[in-house]
Amino acid sequence: MSNAVINVIDDDPAVSQAITIVAKSQGYRVAAYHTAEDFLYGHDPERPGCILLDVKMPGLSGLELQQMLVDAGIRLPVIVMSGHSDVPMAVEAMSRGAVTFLEKPFRMNVLKEQIEKAVKLDEELRTSWFATRTANEAMKRLTDKEREVLDFIMQEKTNREIAEHLNLTLRAVEDRRSRLMKKLGVETIIGLAELVYRSNSIH
């Protein structure tokens, strides 16, 4: 069974129950909340998964919650649902980063697809985030001198050119080069480039 938790935030008990049944049949755990506040206070931020959110709910509206999630840095993918089929609302939901906007009523296969998509997206985001963090930490381990050489390598300079630029011997450059690759844990130039790209990515 997947580690992901599908968070269903809908104040209609029949809908909530039906979505729960569907998500469980896909092999996911489900946490159902009646209100946005309940979710904010009750959810486990460590668990991967996604959020299914109805926009018209008493108290905090779904769209307001969506904004709060963004503000709080909660990056679980959000599927916004509505019984209202309101085009402006859908546009707003999407512009706040919803994975998709589902008009009620919708078929089970549509729901399953979107849940899969959201969970997968969450996995990718997490992987990516971890990769970035790892890369950043690795980069921090480099000394300034190693950093210098790395920058030149990234500019596609040959060892010889680097030696000229830094007024070093070719041997010294080769040494630094192999040391920094070892520190960063990469074996190829491609691996190196990937890591550098990772560490530069904004998250």
């Binding site: 209609d12 029949a14 809908v15 129950q17 039906a18 979505i19 049944i21 569907v22 049949s25 018209k56 019984g83 209202h84 089929s85 009620k104 009523p105 919708f106 078929r107 089970m108 296969n109 729901l111």
Partner: protein, 418 residues
């Protein structure tokens, strides 16, 4: 005036009498009395002339009758209203211009009044009908008056006002009001539906997901093997729940104008879509679906969803019609073709169902008209509105016990500017 006359006459007679008895009396007194009498008669004449002018020029018909109900006087307007010259009416019974069905009532209340002095009807402004020389009935408003002659006899006057024009206005107003109320009702229903849309979509959501989940569970189980139609039925539950929400959604879009999206479309697209939605129901009711789509038809500019909704409505009605009939022939045919004479696409939906009575045919597009005991009757009215909004037409022919055919005509080449 009459008493003045009486006094003057009485005075003159006294004067003559006294003079005859007393020849030494001053003749001037007699002269004065006679002059007074002349003056009085003159004024009387004037007054009589004045009233006569009033009666003659009144646009209302003025009649007077005696106690026997015989017309003593009719003013010239009688010929305008009733086409009788006044002298044609005078001497005839008032019943001559009364419709048959009013004569008894007239007799009763007339005699009642003569005997007891009690009025059984209002004498001011009652609506009755009178009979034109041609036999035509004319609605009039009547007011009565009564005088007593010096001999003690009664004369009754009636003032008849032609209210045909007023009645026309009233009828027109009534129709307008009914139309307005109807429009209001439809609009209110539309608004109601709009408000309910969100509420309805919640349980519809649950129904749809639950039916799908049940279908999933049952699909590969022994139950499905023993009863394969269960899977179909569950599928139809989901399909119908989606349809229900779309109906409400499009009710809304009809009420709030300007939300429909027109685009250049191959007519086969919305038709195929509608067919797909209703296919499950057709299979489960063992109805044969025959399609004849003419290839390479010109495109039309339509709101695809609306047209799909119309066809879906017609298909569902067709299924209902077949379900209501006992016939073994269970077929629905959907065809498209182009009619160059009217430069329109023709779509026909034919069924071999129970048919529609010819007397009902004219009403089936009325809002709220339904033959289904639990139907809201909004479907065909909305379909017609949609088609008319596309500058098309929708018509129907039907034979009881044989079947029904709806024909939709959509003009091609309509642009947004039209």
């Amino acid at each position: 005036m009459a008493s003045f006359l009486e006094r003057s006459v009485a005075g003159a007679i006294r004067a003559v009498g006294s003079t005859l008895e007393n020849p030494n009396l001053d003749v001037r007194w007699l002269q004065q009395a006679v002059e007074d009498l002349q003056a009085t008669v003159g004024r009387l004449q004037e007054s009589s002339d004045l009233y006569r002018i009033v009666a003659d020029t009144a646009s209302d018909v003025i009649l007077s009758i005696n106690e026997a109900g015989i017309i003593q006087y009719a003013n010239p307007s009688a010929s305008t209203l009733l086409d009788y010259a006044p002298d044609e009416l005078m001497g005839k019974s008032i019943k001559h211009i009364m419709p048959d069905f009013l004569r008894d009532a007239h007799d009763k209340s007339f005699h009642r009044f003569l005997e007891t002095g009690q009025k059984t009807i209002s004498w001011r402004g009652i609506e009755v009908q009178v009979v034109h020389k041609s036999g035509e009935l004319i609605p009039v408003e009547v007011s009565f008056g009564m005088i007593q002659t010096p001999e003690g006899n009664y004369r009754f006057t009636g003032f008849l006002r032609d209210i045909r024009e007023r009645k026309e206005f009233e009828e027109e107003s009534r129709k307008r009001l009914a139309e307005l109320e109807h429009a209001n009702r439809v609009k209110t229903v539309g608004e109601l539906a709009s408000g309910l849309a969100h509420e309805l979509n919640q349980p519809l959501s649950a129904v749809c997901l639950q039916a799908d989940a049940a279908q999933e569970i049952i699909k590969n189980s022994p139950i499905a093997q023993a009863h394969p139609e269960v899977v179909e039925l569950l599928e139809d539950v989901s399909v119908q729940s989606i349809r229900a929400s779309q109906i409400v959604k499009h009710l809304r879009s009809l009420v709030s104008k300007g939300e429909s999206k027109r685009e250049v479309v191959d007519i086969a697209t919305p038709l195929t879509s509608a067919l797909q939605i209703s296919s499950a129901r057709m299979r489960s009711t063992q109805i044969q679906m025959n399609c004849h789509f003419t290839p390479r038809l010109p495109s039309v500019v339509i709101d695809q969803i609306q047209v799909e909704q119309v066809i879906l409505n017609l298909l569902n009605n067709a299924i209902d019609a077949i379900e209501s009939s006992d016939s073994d022939h269970r077929e629905i045919a959907l065809t498209t073709r182009y009619d160059p004479e009217v430069k329109s696409l023709l779509i026909t939906v034919m069924d071999t169902g129970i048919g529609i009575d010819e007397h009902e045919l004219g009403r089936i597009f009325d809002s709220f008209y339904t033959t289904k005991s639990d139907g809201m009757g909004m479907g065909l009215g909305i379909c017609q509105s949609i088609i008319h909004a596309h500058k098309g037409t929708i018509g129907v022919t039907s034979t009881l016990g044989v079947g029904t055919e709806f024909t939709i005509s959509l003009p091609i080449g309509q642009t947004e500017d039209n």
